[in-house]
């Protein structure tokens, strides 16, 4: 089955938006880390995601072939045009919230990028290979933090448990597929996220158990990111991020 360019572009932008928005949240930790070492580690992960976003946006621009650039997508679109999954845009919260989110996303991304390496689209396969290498390191780090926080002090345990409860309902969306993504999978280009769920759940359960954290119940789920229905937090990300491009349109920087 073939897909057309506009479908491919929409798909690539989804992956780009996911990476940019979480990079933004991680970058907010700069000079706010609980230790200098951790400050550097958080910005390092932010940089990896920023790099990933730029590769995906660059590819979307190439597919579009209309003179757009990576910055067109990051800076010239409004809230409803962004199609990142909601989990990435949630405010950074405390360190427990940031690491809980990061761990859940890292487990998902590593599995996703591993399969995306086999994409028939060589550009996506190449980006996935790079992302997969970084992802191994990200996951090792975030998993270790879950163990430390979960099995550290009563306070760190409670904070992490609370963070998990607050995030859990946003993980459902990671495994949703719409018609477009189905077509992309059938064309041998994308990844069927539904298939990733059993292994993800198993790995996350194992980590949380080791961290003495109770796996939250899956009795709530918020979705809508792929349709541009966001939390109110995204608009504020964009008003920060796009300020200069909006205030001084059309300039070089």
């Amino acid at each position: 089955m073939l897909i057309d360019k506009s479908q491919l572009k929409i798909f690539v932008l989804r992956l780009a938006d996911d990476a940019l928005v979480i990079a933004h949240r991680l970058s907010e930790w700069c000079s706010h880390g609980p230790s200098l070492e951790e400050d550097l580690a958080l910005t390092n992960v932010a940089l990896d995601y920023m790099g990933r976003a730029r590769m995906f946006y660059g590819y979307a621009a190439e597919i579009a072939g209309d003179g757009s650039t990576e910055d067109t997508y990051a800076y010239d679109r409004d809230c409803r045009d962004f199609t990142n999954l909601l989990i990435h845009e949630l405010p950074r919260g405390d360190f427990a919230f940031t690491m809980a989110r990061q761990y859940l996303v890292d487990e998902f991304n590593l599995a996703y990028m591993e399969l995306l390496q086999q994409s028939k689209d060589p550009t996506l396969a190449a980006i996935a290979t790079k992302a997969n290498k970084e992802g191994l390191y990200h996951l090792r780090r975030s998993r270790k933090w879950l163990l430390r926080l979960g099995d550290g002090t009563a306070e760190s345990h409670n904070r992490l448990q609370q963070a998990m409860e607050d995030i859990w309902g946003y993980t459902t969306e990671l495994f949703e597929m719409d018609e477009l993504e189905q077509a992309i999978v059938e064309a041998g280009i994308g990844v069927n996220a539904i298939h990733l769920h059993p292994q993800w759940k198993q790995r996350v359960t194992a980590t949380l158990t080791e961290a003495t954290i109770t796996v939250p119940s899956s009795d709530w789920a918020v979705t809508g990111g792929r349709k541009g229905i966001h939390t109110e937090a995204l608009g504020h990300i964009l008003s920060d991020m796009q300020f200069l491009q909006r205030a001084y349109p059309g300039q070089q920087w």
Partner: protein, 312 residues
């Protein structure tokens, strides 16, 4: 002078490096702790004005560069804290001295980063001034400090170039962008000159530091070098240095320059800079907010009986 002190000075005079386990006069140790920790704190506090622009950087490319640059600054803070720790003081003590006001950081970071052009001015001028000083410190007499300077200088020269490049692109842009760049230079020029410290005649710590070769060049020599290089850089991209007295002096083969407002310097150090309170409170707040994380690491490691990794 005791025999130990005489031998120590002979080693210094012979350009031999002092290493952590060597005997050293207590004042040499204290002087170095003061200088290295001030340098480390400056790197770390300096992350704040730039960190303030990460989420607002105008392109993804600039954003990535800025993130990487600030990360380098934090890394410099880390090597410098480690270098200070070789003198028998802990990171926790160094941080406490910053929080109590006993230790200082570069006063330039008490000025606000108001516009994107300030990212250019800070890289070009503030990092530029720092490099001029740090190049001379590659030859400082204390080994761990000298070696950390070698690595830091390499990264700082990239920082200076990225800052200058921001200014250059702004000067090639719209009138508003050009005005933004000129305004940043106007605000950061004089404070950058003050970074080199008081004139040699008034510098309290200088004489002994020169004798011990902790300092290798005087404040005025370094300041002159910085001015000479910056004037040309400004001219090339069409920026005007905000000093009507600036003039090439053929006889000296240096630029003459106007009077530095040392009253302002004293005011800002004393606490009347636009951001003194915010900078310090930000650091204290972040440190306190991170306490439960550091406690968790310690508790986890105690439970699992592993070698402690440091998260001070």
């Amino acid at each position: 002078m005791s025999e130990e002190e005489i031998l120590f000075q002979q080693r210094i005079d012979a350009e031999l490096k002092v290493e952590p386990k060597d005997w050293m006069p207590e004042k040499y140790r204290q002087n170095l702790i003061r200088q290295i920790s001030q340098h480390a704190h400056s790197e770390v506090i300096g992350m704040q004005p730039e960190g303030n622009w990460i989420t607002r950087a105008p392109t993804l490319h600039r954003k990535s560069i800025l993130l990487a640059k600030i990360q380098d600054e934090g890394g410099h803070g880390l090597y410098l804290y480690s270098a200070a720790e070789t003198l028998g003081i802990s990171r926790e003590e160094l941080v406490q001295a910053l929080h109590s006001g006993a230790a200082k950081y570069a006063s330039i970071f008490n000025y606000p980063a108001l516009t994107w052009a300030d990212m250019g001015a800070i890289g070009w001028l503030v990092d530029g001034a720092a490099i001029v000083n740090q190049i001379s410190l590659q030859r400082t007499s204390y080994g761990p400090y000298a070696r950390s300077m070698v690595r830091i200088c390499k990264e700082e020269s990239f920082h200076q170039r990225q800052g200058y490049h921001i200014m250059m692109v702004l000067m090639q842009g719209s009138q508003e962008q050009q005005a933004m760049a000129q305004d940043a230079l106007d605000r950061f020029w004089w404070p950058s000159l003050m970074m080199f410290g008081p004139h040699d005649a008034e510098s309290a710590n200088s004489t002994q530091s020169m004798k011990w070769k902790i300092k290798r060049k005087s404040n005025d020599e370094l300041r002159q070098k910085f001015i000479d290089q910056s004037v040309k850089q400004a001219e090339v991209i069409g920026l005007k240095i905000p000093d009507p007295a600036l003039k090439w002096n053929k006889a000296r083969e240096h630029y003459d320059f106007g009077k530095i407002d040392w009253d302002e310097f004293a005011r800002v150090i004393k606490g009347d800079g636009p951001c003194n309170r915010q900078r310090l409170q930000h650091h204290i707040r972040t440190h306190n907010e991170g306490a439960w994380v550091r406690d968790a690491v310690a508790a986890y490691e105690a439970k699992h009986k592993k070698q402690p990794t440091r998260a001070a």
